[in-house]
Symmetry: C2
Subunit: 462 residues, 2 copies
Amino acid sequence: MSRPRRFIVVGADAAGMSAASEARRLDPDLAIVAYDRGGFASYSQCGLPYLVGGVVEQRQRLVARTIQEFAARRITVQLGHEVTAIDPARRVARVRVLADGTELEEPYDRLLLATGASPVRPPIPGLDLAGVFHLDVMEDALAIRTYLRDHQPRRAVIVGGGYIGLEMAENLRRLGLEVALVQRRPQLFPSVDVEIAVPIDQELAGHGVDVSRCDSVVEACEDRHGRVAEVHTNKGAVRADLVLLATGVKPTVELASAAGIALGATGAIAVDERLRTSISDVFAAGDCAEHWHRLLGRPTWVPLGTTANKQGRIAGRNAAGGDEAFAGIVGTAVVRVFDLEVGRTGLTEREAMAAGIACVATTLASTDHAGYLPDARPLTVKLVAERGTGRLLGGQAVGRGGVAKRVDVVATALHAGLSVEDLTRLDLAYAPPFNSVWDPVQVAATMLLRRGLDGAGGRDSP
Amino acid sequence: MSRPRRFIVVGADAAGMSAASEARRLDPDLAIVAYDRGGFASYSQCGLPYLVGGVVEQRQRLVARTIQEFAARRITVQLGHEVTAIDPARRVARVRVLADGTELEEPYDRLLLATGASPVRPPIPGLDLAGVFHLDVMEDALAIRTYLRDHQPRRAVIVGGGYIGLEMAENLRRLGLEVALVQRRPQLFPSVDVEIAVPIDQELAGHGVDVSRCDSVVEACEDRHGRVAEVHTNKGAVRADLVLLATGVKPTVELASAAGIALGATGAIAVDERLRTSISDVFAAGDCAEHWHRLLGRPTWVPLGTTANKQGRIAGRNAAGGDEAFAGIVGTAVVRVFDLEVGRTGLTEREAMAAGIACVATTLASTDHAGYLPDARPLTVKLVAERGTGRLLGGQAVGRGGVAKRVDVVATALHAGLSVEDLTRLDLAYAPPFNSVWDPVQVAATMLLRRGLDGAGGRDSP
């Protein structure tokens, strides 16, 4: 087909603005317009807990590029503009200007859906009370800051023990609030296997966070000002003048669905490796789209900023006439909870089993660097491999330093298809302040090899 | 041939004892004896600067495994025993017991040379004075500690700005000594390119280390007690009541040479990928041997503890009847100097040019994690790639945190043969306390790709 002249981006955050920037790099003449129903573009969503906690004082600090900077590259960003419909047959997007309700019809040659994800809203009475928040977009963080300032809440209840719940527990404690965390499942941070998650409980307890596991909020109750004052859970009543719902997100796909664009089995928008949707000239990237998983060999849905940036860049390139494939994810993630670092990549043992992959695993208690130095900190590393073949499936780590480093080595190895044995051969950086002469990942790999990849068991001595 | 019954290891440190342990794992019946002329076995040589500095208080802390622990696995360690000759025709090693001068003849079926490296001793008058030290083996560290205790030196001169010189500058400053460092070349730590080394000068200056570059010691002079009191350099006289010579090491190959074992072009013992020397049933590993370089595709000599452990394990396995190849090094190293971290892997730009490889490079000033967090620290990353092909050749980093992490990602990528473009596709761990959404290594890779791998130049904006 002819060269595209007009590229519309729906959603002006990580994926959308990465796409816009990359499209501009490829084609200096392409008209590029990004619409977002929100009031902020191109900021670090992952930084929001730290904005609430005051670690980041100014919201402007979270902005990667301002609208003026985009304008200087002739990328138009229209905030407060909601794309309400796409007509693929006519190649037209219907845009509502939220300020006055006017509707526009905007033609496109290529369109990118970068609509992101939205918080799951549990069906619990009282969640519309003042003082009950999600933390999804900049507006949420600013609203929480305002509420903290105006109402000086002293007791917070966080619902959910995933990334946001854990990071917010830290940040609300930093502000001096009493924090209770209500978690439905028995394990906090279910992204890792249970033995890697156990230290999180200790860390939260050590920092005065009251965790109630296998528990759910059933109702939020108000005080005489109409503000939240208490939540009822399966286990009892908890005073709460601030409630944060961190019960997960779901892909924002209504616009896509209404346009007849196919969703995948995950519920997110199905894309091919060029990030094209089922409808011609419409791409999708980021939290609204599926993410090819290199180890599982199928699409998954793992909404993360890193992936949104990568997919956005590729979708933008392809929309502008380029031709690049998304290489896929390996399932890497890391979180800090107070002074504890927890990370994972590839498949956990639980995920491998759920995927029907027979696996062997080993967990090693080590230190982040040479154990004879007084500042060495405990580090636990877990490796998972396919039973029999020794194919490396994943790695996890928890400790007080050096977690992301080990996760990144395993993530790189997974991307490259290295084996457990290959891990033992890596020429990794060593000096006593940084590591042991054999990296804990290598020691764990050696343990796994010595024990036998058939899972028959054996000695664990390194 | 028949199964080996007797394995002699010459040198009871990293390579030697790794070999002994691995041989035992493979063959429970093999007789294994390790001889060392020194008084200590199996300790962390890299920990010695921290033992001198008192960061590690007890020398026992540096011991990986005691002689009793080896004995429990029926590995005999004979300290104070020097192997003075090998007779490959008769398969006999001549061993001198240093305590009484007796000589023994010990038969072997397999023998490993793990004789390590020895300090280069510059031909300078006065280096035999009391108060002049190397830091090579445990005995050196203990002698320095004793001298510090007995003579309370106040002014130290360190000769050489490599790993040991830099680590000892830190550790002697920690003890409160005035420290001057004399460096022959214009650049400290020539293992990295000049722009990566520049912050080392600032760091040393900031910690009160007086560095004299392009300078050499010409003489060391004594006081009336016969102890060193002053050194003369090309640039003048410097008071010194302690001198540390850190002018590099050379492979210890006299025993091998005398036995007719071939040395390689590097001057270290030539080995094949099974770590066999030119003479049947004699293996070599660690600092006395050559090290296959995966990127250069030829043997190099890069004496490091990590490589010694890896080669030792493989040599021990093969000596005991196994069959494993050494995968080779990619040239990874890291050093901490006070609060500064400096690391490298692969080839530096200078090394690539010296090897006749046309290359392109980029240097990125970034931060170790999300720049909007107040504890983000500066991090500079340099990537080197082959001109035209985009083959990744190496990476370097300098900063106050996160250096080893980035070096290890690039080291893993180099081992796996990933390209610069592959680096941009890695699914690395991200949360604001750990990283930016694009790792600095990925940003540098993107810069390199955008600028063009033909080296024609272009914009550097990320």
